[in-house]
């Protein structure tokens, strides 16, 4: 019964979404207060209904109700409880329901926290958000209903794909969706502002926290996915430039650009129409991402690629929302007049440069992703675009971004003098080049990648330190400086922390790529071998049984000289229900290096194939992402955003007597 209740709640949510779209938009254009006010309760009720539907589906998975075709296709009674719960979104229908839940969650949050917005703007934001909900809920109900029943339920399910049976599934998709869908808020704000024909500093202040939240969730989601792939794939790659990855990376890049340009709108009332365009495009790339992942148009073999009808529907959603928003933009954007005046060398210009670099790099990723499709459709050339292209075409923009970052973050608003900006930075530049030289001397031979990465990364991080140092005031006592630093706004700390994270990730990527050591060999049980200064012993290989799989375990002892470093136990698993093998690498995590071992197949001549990797600074890549996200959190907790509330209240009593 509970399941049916969830199904009804899902349909009711669609009805409420229609109400949430029509009433507030109509009310705002006619000036009907009560209709405008209906948006809030409709959004909250819609979220309630979807939460109930999600609860019902989860209940179906937890109790292994195989009369639900989704549960029968993706679950099994032997599956551990964690994966019964996470299995809810480990498939197309369930993940789409999660998408809708989050969409409604954002709308409900906007309804709750947006009480300080102009009533007409708030109504329009909720209305646009409601329209997105209508599109996705009807997609869910009409093409991918998660509550479809089977007339003859099977005795047991066909189990969740073994690769998804990992704690990564618990966190990676929800974070990613919080990010993707969070960008819909920026989109709704942009479209609402276009309808209103009014973009001002207050708009910039309202849209920034939503973008910031979406961006930081996306950062965490992408980092988690990358880390998951790193330990799960069995060779320790962290980024593949795969279309589905690019689908998450493009919105991230655009969201990062949007974050920065919204600052200019908020502080200087310039770049308005560009910021609006970015807000539209950011969500546009989210939609394109959803289309790429779920239509299978770019990927012939894919977990979700099963139904062209779904692809067409998603393409229609993308087309309608992007087409509509861009048309509105073309008509209305010229009305957004910039106010701020600034010189060629100024913080504003630096942020424009940041935006150009981020937007162009996102475009490069986009064209690389769709090129194979385009080339085949238009010129009948069947070709591939892979990592070597992206490495060559994308990297220069990130290098330029890192090179400009310290300069830009030290520039004052309005007008900067280059010699004054550079004055405190010369030391940082010299130190960074010294760091690079040091790295170059230490490494024996090898590419210039690591020294180059060291220069860039320390330039970025040292730029942050110089920035903080100058903010602390010139020629003061140390304790006074500290006091002053502690009083800096949280947003400034957020900026410093996030930029530091960028530097750390940059270094991690360069160091890992340049210095990784790989060893592939056949080892007999009891045999020892040396890899990059470590002695590795394949002590034992034995069989074992898990709850729903059979495994081969290898016990490998790692030592450095006489000192034992770790005992690692890599596994090979076989899941009988899904008839699928997986490899589980064993990793000794460290700050300076990971030791990564994988056990392969038994060899004909006896012994086992064994792969060992020494991965220097691997964890810096994800640590940098987490630091970036922390910076986002700090910035989000800034007083300004909380009190923005107060500041945004309508100026008192400007109304002439009636």
């Amino acid at each position: 019964m509970f399941i049916e209740l969830g199904h009804f709640a899902l349909i009711l949510a669609l009805v409420l979404a229609v109400v949430q779209t029509v009433l507030p938009l109509l009310g705002a254009s006619r000036g009907w207060d009560s209709a405008m006010a209906a948006g809030g309760p409709a959004a909250t009720a819609q979220f309630g209904c979807l939460a109930l539907a999600f609860g019902a589906l989860t209940y179906g998975f937890v109790t292994s109700d195989f009369s639900l075709s989704l549960v029968a296709a993706n679950s099994h009674t032997d599956k551990p409880m964690l994966y019964k719960v996470t299995g809810v979104w480990g498939n197309h229908e369930g993940s789409m329901l999660l998408w809708c839940v989050i969409l409604a969650l954002y709308a409900a949050m906007a309804a709750t926290f947006g009480t300080n917005l102009r009533p007409s703007l708030r109504a329009r934001v909720l209305g646009v958000q409601g329209a997105i909900s209508v599109a996705f809920l009807s997609f869910l109900i009409f093409t991918s209903n998660p509550f479809t029943r089977l007339s003859v339920p099977p005795m047991n399910g066909s189990d969740l794909n073994p690769l998804l049976q990992d704690p990564g599934l618990a966190f990676h998709p929800p974070f990613l969706y919080l990010g993707y869908v969070g960008l819909s808020m920026a989109f709704s704000f942009a479209v609402a502002a276009l309808i209103e024909g009014r973009v001002d500093a207050a708009w910039g202040r309202w849209v920034r926290p939503w973008t910031l939240a979406a961006w930081l969730f996306l950062t965490v989601g992408i980092a988690l996915g990358s880390w998951w792939a790193y330990y799960e794939l069995g060779w320790g790659g962290f980024w593949f430039w795969d279309p589905v990855e690019n689908a998450s990376f493009m919105p991230w890049l655009i969201a990062a650009a949007l974050l920065h340009s919204a600052i200019v709108v908020e502080k200087r009332e310039a770049l308005k129409s560009w910021t609006i365009l970015l807000a539209i495009l950011a969500f546009g790339f989210s939609l394109i991402g959803a289309f790429i992942v779920r239509s299978g148009v770019l990927t012939s073999v894919h977990a979700f690629a099963n139904d062209p009808e779904r692809g067409v529907y998603l393409l229609a959603i993308t087309g309608v929302f992007m087409g509509g928003a861009l048309m509105l933009y073309a008509v209305r954007a010229s009305a957004m007049e910039a106010k701020g005046v600034f010189g060629l060398a100024s913080r504003e210009s630096a942020l424009v440069a940041n935006n150009v670099l981020l937007a162009v790099s996102a475009f490069v990723v986009f064209i690389g992703t769709v090129w194979p499709l385009l080339a085949e459709m238009v010129w009948d050339r069947k070709l591939s675009v892979g990592a070597p292209f992206f490495d060559a075409a994308f990297t220069p923009f990130m290098v330029a971004l890192a090179a400009l970052l310290p300069l830009g973050s030290l520039m004052p608003w309005k007008r900067a003098k280059m010699d004054r900006v550079m004055a405190p930075l010369w030391g940082a530049l010299a130190l960074s080049i010294t760091m690079g030289a040091l790295v170059w001397v230490i490494q024996t031979g090898g590419s210039m990648l690591a020294p180059f990465g060291a220069v860039l990364a320390s330039w970025v991080v040292m730029g942050v330190l110089v920035d903080l140092w100058t903010r602390a005031g010139r020629g003061r006592e140390f304790s006074a400086k500290i006091r002053r630093l502690r009083r800096l706004p949280r947003a400034d700390w957020g900026k410093s922390v996030a930029h530091t994270g960028f530097g750390v990730t940059l270094f991690g990527i360069c160091a890992l790529t340049a210095w990784q050591v790989e060893d592939i060999r056949v080892a007999q049980e009891g045999e020892s071998f040396d890899v990059a200064g470590y002695t590795i012993t394949l002590a034992d290989v034995r069989g074992a049984r898990g709850p729903n799989y059979e495994a081969t375990l290898a016990v490998m002892e790692i030592a450095r000289g006489d000192r034992s470093v770790a005992t690692l136990i890599p596994e090979k698993r076989f899941y009988p229900v899904a008839r699928m093998p997986t490899t589980e690498a064993a990793i000794d995590n460290g700050i300076l290096r990971d030791i990564y071992v994988v056990i392969g197949d038994p060899q004909d001549g006896g012994g086992w194939a064994v792969r060992t990797y020494i991965k220097p600074f691997a964890n810096w890549i994800w640590a940098g992402c987490i630091i970036m996200a922390l910076g986002g959190c700090l910035s989000l907790s800034d007083r300004r955003h909380r009190v923005a509330a107060g500041a945004a209240k309508a100026p008192p009593a400007a109304v002439p007597a009636e």
Binding site: S95, N161, L164, G168, L169, H172, I222, G225, W228, A229, E232, L233, W235, F240, D242, V244, E245, V293, V301, H302, A338, K339, V341, F342, G343, E348, V352, V356, A359, V360, S361, F363, V364, I367, G368, W371, A375, V378, W379, L383, S384, V385, G386, A387, P388, F389, F397, I520, R521, V522, M580, T583, V598, G600, Q603, A609, R611, A653, A654, P656
Partner: protein, 149 residues
């Protein structure tokens, strides 16, 4: 969900990437083989190079690359050998011929164009009109009220 696809395909295959028995005795040749492999696509996989792929076809291609290298081919000849057999689909780094020039030049051209547009915009802002908006009637009324006229 994003990674899942990659994972699903990669691990669907029983064996794994470069096998110990494939590695050439000559370390210089082996290093070249690895470099070349990174730019060649496993034709039955999704966007994966033959160096990382577990598919049987990838193994065949890895062996073919090594065979050609041992036979004394230079890097370009090995690539040509594979392209004539499998088409340009096998190249993960698309060549810069014909319409592919658009792909390769898109980034630089966009950067140049974007930079120029931004520069024009910035120069215009520099000389922009500094006058603030005139006061609205309501604001003027409020001002008068405050200044007590």
């Amino acid at each position: 969900m994003i990674r899942v696809a990659v994972l699903v395909w990669l691990l669907a295959m029983p064996a794994f990437a470069v096998q110990p028995d494939e590695i050439l005795q000559n370390p210089a040749l082996e290093a070249r083989a690895r470099e070349l492999s990174k730019n060649l696509r496993c034709l039955v996989c999704r966007n994966e190079n033959i160096d990382e792929s577990n598919a049987d076809l990838a193994r065949d291609l890895r062996l073919a690359v090594r065979e050609r290298l041992v036979a004394g081919d230079d890097d370009a000849e090995v690539i040509d050998y594979l392209v004539t057999r499998y088409g340009e689909y096998v190249l993960l780094r698309p060549n810069a011929r014909g319409v592919n020039l658009v792909l390769w030049l898109a980034g630089p051209i966009m950067a140049l164009g974007g930079g120029l547009i931004a520069l024009t915009y910035l120069r215009r802002r520099k000389g922009a009109d500094v006058r603030p908006d005139p006061l609205s009637d309501a604001e003027r009324a409020r001002l008068e009220e405050l200044t007590g006229d």
